[in-house]
Symmetry: C2
Subunit: 451 residues, 2 copies
């Protein structure tokens, strides 16, 4: 059991050491930590301290820190390092992480850095692919086995290559044309008799993806089939690289955060609790302006009924209920639908079934909540007709919310837009505007005639 | 590259085979699929077909299907199987999955099933732990190495034990007291000279958790330190079992879904797009009733100002903007705060910083949106004072939304409630009720005096 040390304590100690210019102690404190903890402590330090400290750490630790930092932080720190310090560190980084870093640099800086990297030929091919594709996630495969070698030869090959421990739980098998033909686990190699041909023990049904596959689809494939690594191939099925398990976890987390943020009206996943207020504002304000625009639709509807409201102000008292409850019901349906689409539990072709289901739920919600609010309005304001109007409007609105909550995200999905992005604002616009329209239309027809 | 076959095509073929009572063909079709696909096809079949088909599949495939199905589906199908068919299948399941299944059975059924299982002694200890803890996730460790054996002995041991390929990428090392003292990867064993003692190549800094650790904390620990497996120990640090990578992915997905659902007002994560409408209704309706209750608070506030509204019905026209925009801003702040807390990016002790940040954003939002709506109201309704009232109310409400969006989830987190659960309804209640109160108070004071 390793204690998960309180990073704030370590951080204070590192700061004290830096203030005292006791580099050895600062280095010792940071090197004793695991990479994610090193990065957490490191990113809290003053930029000047960062530039002083990083070249003094051993290059493996510095490389781990650069890998763990956010892309923005990593590029900023890399820009402040001396060229030869940067080269030493970059030489210890994983090829896919180097490619990401180079992709974020200015062309000049990237070219200079690349020219001094030992494994430049491994990294160059990785630069071709966009960050959000399988190609952008993959790293170069360190160990590839030919299908006709024996297990003893495979083990001998492993002993000379000594890949990083984290990478070689699956070994990919290729034929003479370098086409991917199978996968074999280390364990299968060990337990087989030593003269067994790899061909005989490998699993030929290896799952792979093309380099241009979307990163979310790639990560979900790995999660679904419980893969610790996934090979990436070109159109001839030649092996281009391998995506490792840590990338899958990072992509899933990134996509979940994106969905949560989009559903919450923050349409930019880079806006976390840690970015500067100015950046957060630029991401969020346009969304609020859009929201104000859609709220104006409701305001226009209300404006049409100004006379009704003037004659019977008590109608306005029930606005929060008419709009609020159907808005909440629409959000519930929307949330379930968007999540079902994201996890692949439902697809647009299940549309009729989902719609039927949500309308049934809307009907039941409408009966219960419509009657409830009718009774409240009757008792509170002493008007049976007011009760009837509020109850009927709530009933109709809840059914409309079921429609909107299914049809909007499904429609988005069919036209290939992310349902999490545009749906919340559309659904709330629909439930609000329709809600006011239905409520005040019924009121105008009935109330003004009978009261 | 294995094609991801269209499961609907396979499903139709399986159904045809079942209708023709061509069991061999149905079995061949299902056995050709990968486990998650087998389960997908299987769960679409009629219950009678399921009971007919499952005992005819080979027990390994049947076991995989039971493991992949949801807990509810698995228990339902298990209940319909003959006792000896069930035993044959359960004997092929992973110990942790058997423990989960037994935990969901009636005590009688569980006792009967357990009595006929080969590895009952492996499964019994797993039954002690609650499903949502590390103990509930772990499976029994198949291979444990003593620290004083050599790598050659370790390999010989692996050859006789032949663990499941998926489990043995890390091997845990214990001392004479069975205390966990290190971890070694298969690769490290292979590449070391054959007479090396395990003790010399193992990593003694092995991360482990206690059996009662919460499942989300466990999964986040595995994700953070990029662990493919995590050992679970008792208070003497003796090895109890191992949590595998597939459990981490499943737990993270379950927790994300829970957060998304809770933020969307669906406070029960079991309510997916696939449950029956009745169950969905029972989960969602109480939440809507609660929502109606909180909307009543706004209605009460509005009721206090009925006279103001009666005198100036145009005030009601701007209700959707006053309540809607600050509600959206509150949701944005809430979303960012809840996600930051879930990912561990922020903790309650960062409260002051977060609050300052969100109030600054609220101020900026308020200035822009307040001025915008003031101009709209002025131009549309031709009243400078109305413009001033709507603008000022929007400005104040947006600052209040910043306060509510930070303080509510932080407060929840401090009193150990899930911030995702109760915060949305509290924040929207606050922004709505405060919004109407501020708007109509300003209006009553200013407008009625000057118009």
């Amino acid at each position: 059991m390793v204690d998960i040390t309180d990073m704030n304590v370590v951080l204070d100690e590192v700061r004290d050491a830096l203030t005292a210019e006791d580099w050895d102690r600062a280095v010792a404190l940071v090197e004793a930590l695991r990479p994610p903890d090193q990065a957490d402590v490191f990113e809290e330090l003053h930029p000047d301290s960062q530039s002083e400290l990083l070249p003094r750490l051993n290059p493996e630790d510095s490389a781990d820190i650069l890998e763990e930092l956010s892309d923005e932080d990593a590029i900023e720190i890399a820009a402040r390092l001396e060229a030869d310090d940067l080269t030493r560190i970059v030489n210890e980084m994983e090829p896919d992480e180097v490619a990401d870093l180079l992709g974020d640099m200015t062309p000049d800086q990237a070219a200079e850095t690349l020219s001094s990297i030992e494994d430049a030929d491994e990294i160059l091919p990785l630069l071709e692919y966009s960050d959000d594709t399988a190609g952008g996630l993959m790293t170069s495969a360190e160990v590839v086995l030919h299908k006709d070698i024996t297990t003893a030869e495979a083990i001998a090959h492993l002993k000379t290559t000594v890949p990083e421990a984290g990478i070689a739980y699956y070994l990919y098998v290729v034929n003479d044309d370098m086409r991917l033909v199978g996968v074999v686990s280390l364990l299968e190699i060990i337990v087989a008799p030593s003269e067994t041909c790899i061909d005989e023990i490998m699993n030929p049904e290896v799952i792979s993806v093309f380099a241009n596959t979307d990163q979310e689809a790639t990560a979900r494939l790995m999660a679904r089939y419980d893969l610790l690594a996934l090979p990436v191939v070109d159109e001839k099925y030649q092996l281009l690289g391998v995506i490792t398990h840590d990338d899958m976890v990072a992509v899933l987390e990134e996509e979940e955060t994106e969905d949560i943020f989009r559903l919450g009206g923050v349409p930019d996943e880079r806006v976390s609790t840690t970015v500067a207020p100015g950046i957060a504002l630029r991401a969020r304000l346009p969304w609020l302006v859009l929201n104000m625009g859609t709220a104006m639709l409701s305001a226009v509807v209300l404006s049409l009924f100004e006379e009704t409201i003037a004659q019977l102000a008590v109608l306005a008292v029930f606005f929060p209920i008419v709009a609020g409850v159907s808005g909440s019901a629409g959000t519930q349906t929307l949330t379930v639908t968007v999540r079902g689409l994201a996890l692949g539990e439902v697809s647009p072709r299940d549309g009729i079934g989902m719609l039927t289901r949500e309308i049934m739920i809307g009907l039941a919600n409408g009966i219960v909540l419509g009657m409830l609010i009718a009774v409240i309005a009757l008792v509170w304001k002493g008007s049976p007709i007011l009760g009837f109007v509020v109850g009927l409007a709530t009933f109709i609105n809840l059914i409309a919310a079921g429609f909107a909550g299914v049809l909007v995200p499904l429609g988005m999905s069919i036209i290939k837009l992310d349902p999490a992005l545009a749906s919340p604002v559309l659904v709330s616009t629909l439930t609000d505007t329709l809600g006011y329209l239905i409520y005040l239309s019924i009121a105008t027809i009935l109330l003004l005639r009978f009261i």
